[in-house]
């Protein structure tokens, strides 16, 4: 990429940034990255985990740990700064560059009021600052402590802190990833306004291409510490030049490809094998929730009604989606099916047999299996994968030992785990491989129902795509019934036959996926769908991909 160093319109340009870590500096996190940013421009940096996008941002603002070896320089408003000496950047922070981070809940000091946070940074009126960050209820927020704020409010306070000294460039590192879609939509809109009003440039780092499309003017695609592709958002997202960008885009579930394979399959025939069931499944109900209520007692003695009278039916062979924002009670509800939460009232029926988890039976556990979000936490770090996948068989004493091992083997191959990984421990596996192992483990007992609780949320899109493909394939081949819980509407739309929408412990809406997404009835569902960032259609698509299979 060729930069015009003398361009007047350039606010900031980064030249040949390289970052290495480790005692021997063998681990190169970023190599030879250069780009520039114009005043008021919003530049997106996308990439999967380990692509070096966050490291790049931290290098710009001089916040890398001391063991990092940084090379390169930046020109900010015509002034030259060496990035290898982070101390030289200190006086730029706040006034020139400022940064916000992913986790808003830990970005603020728990012992300080919001007012004091802002007063430490500026002498301007803190109320005005909060309003400019989009907090209208600034009067109450000002004298609140961080733990009294919601995630969205905290992130807006963090934005206000970052803006306090009127920086020319704001670096935002996944600032909305930990937030609900409706909250995210508000923050994206506010950032765009701020950039317009103040002529402030923004570097927005994210893994979510749809967010980039909604917010940014230009985009850089990074991989393994290098820039793979850059250009206008419209160009890059609709007609990418590089195959990596194309794969990345193809891995994102979108309406037009509903129910299709997301990863490139070995042959064309394979592509067609996975299709969604027709909208109306005539099969019998398999798992039934009747008027489930769950209550939690808080430490102060008050009662929280986490789930309030929710009923649902999962039919044999279907994938039922359960969608809702944080705190909607979706996980709590699903956990009643495996006895991880005990309902205050209501019944759960499997094949018309009531499951009373206060008197649990082993065979129920065999029939309903649960997969969690974090595969790292769900696996024992000190045991080999194979023995962990075999463990359910050992616990249930199914068959002789040799047979158990053989069965676990088969299950892992089914879950597309490489045989070389079988004797490894979770620590040396990637996130996607770990999640496959938990899926294999859940399937060893040949359950009738699989509950996936945000099982792809912590994964990169390309890995998420593979897991989604795997789930659909398993359903096709084994006739598995899946309850798929997610906050991500595009994933839900992609693989589910029917969808339930939950909010604050109540069922808001229920319907066939296509119906629900095209004609949402409840105001809340409409709000969710409106907040969902969507990608533009790709221009370069093979014609057969245009066909929607339903």
């Amino acid at each position: 990429m060729i930069l015009d160093r003398h361009s007047v319109a350039t606010l900031f340009s980064l030249r040949e940034l390289s970052v290495a870590f480790g005692a021997t500096l063998r681990h190169i996190a970023v190599s030879n990255v250069s780009f520039d940013v114009k005043p008021g421009e919003i530049l997106g940096i996308v990439g999967e985990s380990g692509s070096g996008k966050s490291v790049t941002c931290r290098a710009l603002i001089g916040l890398l740990p001391e063991r990092a070896r940084v090379q390169g320089e930046m020109i900010f408003e015509g002034q030259r700064f060496s990035l290898s000496k982070p101390r030289g950047l200190a006086h730029l922070r706040g006034v020139g560059l400022s940064m916000i981070f992913q986790d808003p809940m830990s970005a603020l000091d728990p012992l300080m009021t919001v007012r004091r946070h802002l007063e430490l940074r500026t002498e301007d009126d803190p109320g005005t600052l909060l309003r400019s960050a989009g907090l209208d209820e600034h009067r109450t927020v000002l004298d609140s402590y961080p733990h009294q704020l919601s995630g969205g409010q905290s992130q807006r306070v963090a934005i206000a802190c970052a803006l306090a000294r009127r920086p020319k460039l704001l670096i935002a590192d996944e600032p909305t990833t930990a937030l609900d879609v409706t909250v995210q939509a508000g923050i994206l809109q506010r950032l765009r306004q701020l950039s317009r009003e103040r002529g402030m440039a923004i570097i927005f780092v994210t893994h979510d291409l749809a967010v980039v499309y909604r917010l940014c003017d230009r985009v850089l695609v990074m991989r393994d510490g290098r820039i793979i592709e850059h250009g206008d958002v419209d160009t890059v997202l609709t007609a990418p030049r590089e195959s990596y960008t194309r794969d990345l885009l193809a891995a994102i579930p979108r309406p037009a490809h509903r129910g299709r394979r997301l990863t490139a399959a070995g042959n064309e025939a394979d592509k067609r094998t996975i299709a969604l069931r027709s909208g109306s499944i005539a099969s019998k109900p398999l798992l039934r929730f009747e008027q489930i209520c769950v209550q939690y007692k808080r430490s102060d003695g008050s009662v929280l009604e986490a789930v309030r009278g929710v009923s649902a039916v999962i039919r044999r062979g279907e994938i039922l989606g359960l969608v809702g924002e944080s705190g909607s009670g979706k996980s709590t509800f699903a956990k009643t099916a495996v006895g991880l939460t005990v309902p205050a009232s209501g019944r759960i029926l499997l094949n018309d047999e009531p499951l009373d988890w206060r008197r649990p039976q082993m065979r129920w556990r065999r029939d309903v299996q649960y997969i969690f979000q974090d595969p790292r936490g769900a696996l024992d770090p000190s045991a080999r994968i194979l023995s962990q996948v075999r463990l359910p068989l050992d616990v249930h004493r199914l068959g002789p030992k040799a047979e158990r091992t053989a069965h676990a083997h088969r299950q892992m191959i089914e879950a597309q785990l490489d045989e070389a990984l079988f004797s490894r421990k979770p620590g040396s596996l990637s996130g996607g491989q770990r999640q496959r192992a938990t899926i294999a483990r859940a399937l060893t007992l040949q359950p009738k129902v699989l509950i996936c609780d945000e099982s792809v949320s912590a994964l990169d899109v390309s890995i998420q795509a593979r897991i989604l493909d795997l789930l659909m394939e398993l359903r096709e081949r084994l006739g598995l019934t899946i309850l798929f819980i997610s906050h991500d509407l595009s994933v839900i739309r992609h693989i589910c036959d029917r969808v339930l929408v939950m909010r604050r412990g109540e069922l808001v809406e229920e319907g066939e996926t296509i119906d629900l997404f095209q004609h949402p009835k409840a105001a809340y569902t409409q709000q969710l769908l409106a907040a969902l960032p969507v990608l533009p259609d790709c221009i370069e698509q093979e014609p057969e991909n245009q066909r929607v299979v339903v």
Partner: protein, 317 residues
């Protein structure tokens, strides 16, 4: 609720001390000497009620406590409480300056080490702190006496002579306590500095000094309150060894003498006082947590306000 738990703790403490002391020796033999004839021993036992079964002795003692009678010392025949109270000022004279000096030295050293985390200065201070912790206080005391009293002859070796008598006992105790403070401060500050809020503060342009003052110190305060409570709580006993080495007539040395003589009433009274101060110190620490940390303050508020706050949190932004 809280008071009930405190009383139960004290009761268990007393019972445990009572029975272990009784199991480990007969006060009559120890006090009168092994050569005393049986009649004299019997008379002594009769006088102090030692002939009764152990559980009855304990019941009699507890009954006395309920009526605020702390018992009499076998050795002086005076009230145990008076004996203990007469020794308290001497102990406080050592412990209060010790806590003051150890905070004044330990906290800044730990803080300094933490913000230079991993560098040479950090390693040196950490190593000094480890040495301070590892050397037993009596050894340090003996060493000090050897150097300053015997070898140099600058300071009085034992007992109270003038203000210089404080230097060695306070110094040796402060060294240990300061090492504890330094270590805890260091780990607390290192933890705070790794918190994302520090990155946020740096990214929005706060200076190092301001970050240390406004974020790091207040957040590191909570663990420091805990140790201060522990040290103050043990105020009557934690000087025991040092008092003995320097011939200081405080509660600590009284405890050691009384245990050796199986002087039940005195030992139990000291334990009772020590236990009470410990419980009080913890109570004060809990109070000050709420003062420092708004999260703890909030969780103690009434149910009603918690519910309204949670509803406020749930409403969309």
């Amino acid at each position: 609720m809280r008071a009930g738990r405190a009383l139960l703790t004290l009761f268990v403490l007393l019972g445990f001390a009572f029975f272990t002391l009784a199991a480990s020796g007969d006060p009559a033999v120890i006090l009168l000497g092994p050569e005393t004839n049986t009649a004299a021993l019997e008379a002594f036992r009769q006088k102090w009620g030692l002939g009764l079964p152990l559980w009855r002795q304990f019941a009699v003692y507890v009954d006395g406590l309920v009526h605020l009678n702390f018992g009499l010392s076998y050795r002086t025949s005076g009230p145990a409480l008076d004996l203990v109270l007469s020794r308290v000022p001497a102990s406080l004279c050592l412990v209060v300056p010790t806590i003051f000096f150890s905070i004044a030295v330990g906290v800044p050293v730990g803080f300094y080490a933490a913000i230079h985390n991993g560098r040479m200065t950090d390693r040196i201070t950490t190593m000094l702190a480890v040495i301070g912790l590892a050397v037993p206080p009596f050894l340090l005391g003996i060493l000090l006496i050897y150097i300053f009293s015997i070898w140099l002859g600058w300071l009085p070796p034992s007992g109270y002579v003038d203000w210089r008598s404080y230097i060695m006992p306070v110094g040796s105790m402060s060294a240990v306590a300061a090492a504890i403070y330094a270590r805890f401060t260091r780990s607390a500050v290192v933890e705070v500095m790794a918190n994302p809020m520090i990155e946020t503060a740096k990214a929005s342009g706060l200076t190092r000094e301001l970050i240390h003052r406004a974020h790091a110190l207040p957040n590191a305060l909570l663990p420091l309150i805990t140790i201060t409570a522990l040290e103050f709580g043990g105020v009557l006993t934690f000087a025991a060894v040092t008092e003995n080495v320097f011939g200081w007539h405080g509660v600590g040395s009284l405890l050691i003498e009384s245990v050796a003589a199986r002087d039940y009433a005195v030992v139990e009274t000291i334990l009772l006082c020590a236990g009470t101060t410990m419980i009080l110190a913890n109570f004060l620490a809990d109070l000050s947590y709420g003062f420092v940390d708004p999260r703890i303050r909030d969780s103690r508020r009434s149910r009603l306000s918690t519910v309204t706050r949670l509803y406020a949190e749930k409403s969309p932004v």
